[in-house]
């Protein structure tokens, strides 16, 4: 155990970053009244006051926030009126992210985010100078493994680097771009049919904007994605404007998902997602990036994905067992994709209507098991066995297994999961 550290503050420019966006938004809102000059001096003063309040609040929140490492915990104290003191046991860290929004990079700052298991949510330190954030990340990771905190961070070994051209190509063949294309086709049709295309275009503007934002986010998330193996786990980096570096320590993986979208088939591209424990979303926190699963390999070749899977779930079986042919009647589209298998350590499942989605779950991570048999399934004498993990998004299910087999599989999986837990 280390002696208690002194209290630290976040970087003084921290409040400028989140409120920077807000100020920008306000300027956009207020600009018309400034330009119009109609409101006069009082209006302008009011706007200025609003800006000052926002900046002031950010400053106060910075002033009352402090953090330190105490024994094996990270403590964060914050809040002026409602003081909160949070304690995050480092032994329960599921993953550590370094997030750098565009503005933060301008100032040389970074946010450190510790994802905790259970319902504790995430510990956020926003923002720290980059060098300090890197050093702290290494220290926290060392502490979370129980090593001495001064253990130097070992070099990581780069494994995969996604070329920008592939990112762009994969994006062109994705749903948001497809929406744009369909939309363009509709507009062209309207124009040819004698209608007014601009009027129609105006109607769908919000959708279009949302679509553009989605495309941008995906591009930014996938840009320059790299995977590296470090002794403490796997490191994932990506980002053009907002950069993101994530460390997933070994043994924290709840599920791994390999997605092969149908549009990417001709190029043999696929995506690998890793699910770690933690709540789906903070209450009152509608940050978009928490909503979707983090892709560790946004677009990779089959070989890259295989190599990554070997690291994440070494020696896992392929989902080779097939449901009985009569299951076709229940899942006509999915039937040819369905598959499952399990061994003493992992369960593997395959599904997907258009593309193919394969999921691997370490049996040590199984929280509970469920056998579900719907009315159609009963007629066809098949049933589905679900494996529930503490992950957020990925759900593994052995779909449409033969009825009596499913009971046996449920028993076996229960048995194997128990053995895996004990080991």
């Amino acid at each position: 155990m280390s002696e208690p550290d002194r209290w630290h503050r976040l970087h003084p420019l921290s409040p400028a970053i989140p409120s920077g966006r807000l100020v920008l938004a306000l300027v956009v809102v207020f600009l018309p009244s400034f330009a119009g000059g109609g409101g006069g001096a009082w209006d302008a003063a009011g706007h200025l006051a609003a800006l000052l309040v926002i900046v002031g609040l950010g400053f106060v929140s910075w002033l009352v926030t402090r953090w330190r490492i105490e024994g094996g915990d990270l403590r964060i104290e914050t809040g002026l009126v409602r003081r909160s003191s949070q304690r995050f046991p480092l032994s329960q860290v599921q993953a550590i992210d370094t997030v750098r929004p565009g503005l933060a990079r301008l100032f040389g700052l970074a946010e450190l985010r510790l994802r905790m298991g259970g319902s504790g949510g995430a510990a956020r330190l926003a923002y720290l100078p980059v060098a300090q954030a890197e050093e702290l990340r290494a220290r926290l990771l060392a502490l979370s493994r129980g090593a001495h905190e001064d253990t130097p961070e070992p070099e990581d070994r780069p494994l995969v680097r996604v070329p920008v051209r592939r990112v762009a190509g994969s994006l062109l063949l994705s749903a948001p771009v497809l929406v744009l294309v369909v939309y363009g086709a509709i507009l062209a049709g309207v124009e040819l049919g004698g209608g007014s295309a601009p009027a129609v275009a105006g109607l769908a503007l919000p959708i279009l904007l949302g679509d553009a934002v989605a495309i941008w986010r995906r591009f930014n998330r996938a840009y320059g994605a790299t995977v590296a193996a470090a002794p403490e786990g796997l490191r994932f980096r990506s980002g053009l404007v907002e950069t993101n570096a994530e460390t997933i320590p070994e043994g924290r993986v709840q599920a791994v998902q390999l997605v092969e979208p149908i549009l990417w088939r001709p190029f043999g591209w696929c995506r690998v997602d890793v699910d770690v424990a933690g709540r789906v979303r903070e209450r009152g926190d509608d940050r978009g990036d928490e909503r979707e699963l983090r892709s560790v390999l946004p677009v990779g070749t089959r070989a890259e994905a295989e190599a990554l899977l070997q690291l994440l779930v070494p020696g896992a079986p392929a989902p080779v067992r097939r449901p009985p042919r009569r299951a076709r009647w229940k899942s006509p589209l999915r039937y040819r994709r369905l598959g499952f298998d399990f061994d003493a350590r992992y369960a593997a499942t395959a599904a997907g209507r258009l593309g193919r989605v394969q999921v691997w779950v370490p049996l040590t991570k199984v929280q509970s098991l469920r056998r579900v048999e719907g009315p159609v399934q009963r007629l066809l004498r098949v049933a589905t066995v679900h494996l529930d993990t503490a992950g957020k998004r990925v759900s593994a299910a052995l779909r449409d297994v033969d009825g009596t087999d499913s009971l046996r599989d449920l028993e076996q999986l229960t048995e194997l999961a128990r053995a895996a837990r004990r080991a």
Partner: protein, 155 residues
């Protein structure tokens, strides 16, 4: 799985479900009454008939569902089965239980019943047993808590 040693909810759950179906029927009848007052007598009676038919149907469904609930305490895990149309069988290992809730709504409370709910780290595991006599609910809660402690495993 053997069916004879499954434990079942208290027989009072059937009565509680009757009351719930009755409450819904009364609500529907109130709507029918409003129609009767605002529109013709014929429409009102028609609506009342539909309300009663819906109530009876609901009651039959609820009663049949009561019979489908069952739970089995095994050495290392708890089995819960439920549902008629969609049949579900959950296996919750004792070591995976994070906490146990005992709740009772107004209807359940008036029949001295309670619902025991098991929580694991997974949001998907939906394990609850409704309509237990409160003594049985308390016994199950204490036993599960003790077993959970004995089997506890990390994430």
């Amino acid at each position: 799985m053997p069916s004879d040693d499954w434990m079942r909810p208290s027989p009072r759950l059937r009565q509680a479900r009757h009351v719930e179906a009755g409450a819904v029927t009364i609500l529907l009848l109130a709507v029918a009454g409003a129609i009767l007052a605002l529109s013709s007598v014929r429409n009102g009676l028609f609506a009342a008939l539909i309300a009663i038919a819906a109530g009876v149907l609901l009651d039959v469904m609820l009663q049949r569902r009561v019979g489908s609930w069952g739970y089995l305490e095994r050495e290392d895990d708890l089995l819960i089965r439920r549902g008629l149309l969609v049949r579900r069988l959950s296996v919750v290992p004792y070591g995976r239980m994070q906490f146990i809730d005992v709740t009772a709504g107004p209807v359940e409370r008036s029949f001295r019943l309670a619902t025991v709910r098991l929580h694991t780290a997974s949001a998907a595991s939906d394990a609850r047993i409704p309509g237990l006599a409160i003594e049985e609910a308390a016994r199950l809660r204490d036993r599960l808590a003790a077993l959970g402690e004995a089997h506890a495993a990390g994430l």
